[in-house]
């Protein structure tokens, strides 16, 4: 059992190495044959042919940050639900009720974020 478990992970490692080697190989092979013709126009940022204005790493909407926070909350919820799901039959009704309470608490959190307008983009 333990050996099979370890062997499986060795094949995962083999796959990582094979995949990475393939990517590196393709890029190197392409590097050998492609032409390089630099020109000043080519080396400026693409902005539909117009001279680029300002820095590209500009400030961005704070909305993205709020969704990152929401993601954190609900991804941790998912992580908590996975072990519950796998032991579900053993935990029975009491475990189910406890998880319902847990989901309800987070649902209240979602409703709060919703009412506060955290889910609106405009």
């Amino acid at each position: 059992m333990t050996t099979a478990f370890l062997t499986n992970w060795i094949y995962v490692a083999v796959f990582i190495v094979a995949g990475a080697a393939m990517v590196v190989g393709i890029l190197l092979m392409s590097r050998l044959v492609y032409p390089i013709h630099p020109s000043p126009e080519k080396y400026s940022t693409y902005e539909c042919g117009i001279e680029p204005v300002g820095d590209s790493w500009h400030p961005f909407a704070v909305r993205y940050h709020i969704f990152a926070l929401l993601f954190l909350v609900f991804d941790v919820e998912a992580i908590f639900l996975f072990p519950w799901a796998i032991t579900f039959r053993r935990l029975g009704t009491s475990g189910f009720v406890e998880v319902l309470v847990f989901i309800a608490v987070l649902a209240v959190g979602l409703a709060y974020a919703w009412l506060k307008g955290a889910l609106e983009w405009v």
Binding site: F15, Y34, E47, T93, A107
Partner: protein, 339 residues
């Protein structure tokens, strides 16, 4: 099987036990190779398949000049891509710029490790297969976000930011949708999930979960209608605006690999995987996968792209509550049946 194989390979000198072990290792390495080559060929072939099918939906012919029915088109495209200037912009972050396309290919390929083609034909029958898939598919967000960020182009940065928020959000819904299946099967092992569907495909008891997983799959693999990260009508090519040559090609292959992966996972988790009457398992598996790939392409030919706020609304206001209700109802029904 393994003993016969090792005699055939003339490895008998190691002693019976060692030989059997070596033959097993060899057999497993062959599986690794077959999956790697097979998956990449499918992804390459899909570039042709998608263009032909899209043409069919739009009453055109599509690529039909290179080889019989245009079948050699992917090869011609690949050769062309090798000879295209593949530059790293001087204003970009060179290390991340090269790393991003590599991450997408390797992470999607890794997710294929746990997909059972048949009961025994699987690279690594991990007991946490489902979690491994979720982990690998969520690594994809690094690729797209880093590609956008490191390109230092305004279109790319916006594309990368959109990708980060979109893929992170839909990853949550994907995970929560799969929890329902874990409740039914009591296992993360994809082989056991397939075996649990001998009587009834999980799509029937888990229809809401399947719908959420399907939509999240579209968003996670950045397929139309949820391709707002590259939305060509507003962002040129989004996160990959500054990419050219083979690196751009890698994002393309990564997208097709992703489409194959999501189809394979939908089939494995909700449509009975390799189970089916008459034909061998892997044939059933491929038939089902191609039905879903064709569905992905049909959707691309049919649906327009939503606005970004509509995409996030759909996720957080509809799919997330739906997932949680689905979870509660599934649990209640299982408990009621157990009584």
């Amino acid at each position: 099987m393994s003993e016969a194989a090792c005699h055939a390979l003339g490895l008998a000198g190691f002693g019976a036990l060692a030989t059997a072990a070596w033959a097993t290792v060899l057999y497993d390495l062959v599986i690794v190779l077959v999956v790697l080559v097979g998956v990449l060929s499918i992804a390459a072939g899909l570039t042709w398949f998608e263009r032909r099918l899209l043409s069919f939906f739009q009453d055109r012919l599509g690529p039909n000049r290179v080889g019989p029915a245009g079948l050699l088109q992917p090869l011609a495209d690949m050769v062309k891509m090798f000879f295209k200037e593949d530059w790293i912009p001087p204003f970009a972050d060179p290390a991340l710029f090269v790393l991003a396309p590599a991450i997408i290919i390797v992470s999607v390929l890794l997710a294929f490790v746990v997909v059972p083609v048949t009961g025994s034909f699987v690279i690594a029958d991990l007991n946490i297969g489902l979690l491994f898939f979720l982990a690998m598919s969520s690594l994809g967000v690094y690729s797209v976000a880093l590609a956008g960020w490191s390109s230092a182009s305004k279109y790319s940065v916006i594309g990368g930011l959109r990708a980060a928020a979109q893929m992170m959000s839909y990853e949550v819904f994907m995970g929560l949708a799969l929890t329902g299946v874990v409740l039914l099967s009591g296992s993360f092992d994809l082989n056991r999930i397939v075996a649990g569907q001998r009587g009834l495909w999980y799509v029937v008891p888990q229809l809401p979960g399947f719908l959420v997983f399907l939509l999240a799959g579209f968003a996670e693999m950045r397929r139309i209608p949820f391709d707002l990260v590259e939305a060509e009508s507003e962002l040129v090519a989004g996160y990959r605006t500054e990419y050219s040559g083979m690196k751009s090609g890698m994002f393309l292959v990564g997208e097709y690999l992703g489409m194959t992966l999501i189809s394979a996972l939908i089939v494995t988790i909700y449509f009975g995987g390799w189970l089916g009457p008459g034909l061998p398992g892997f044939v059933w598996f491929l038939i089902k996968i191609f039905i879903f790939i064709a569905f992905f392409i049909l959707v691309r030919a049919t649906l327009p792209r939503p606005r970004y706020d509509q995409l996030m609304d759909l996720g957080w206001k509809i799919l997330l509550p739906l997932c949680l209700v689905n979870l509660a109802v599934t649990g209640a029904i299982i408990l009621a049946v157990q009584r």
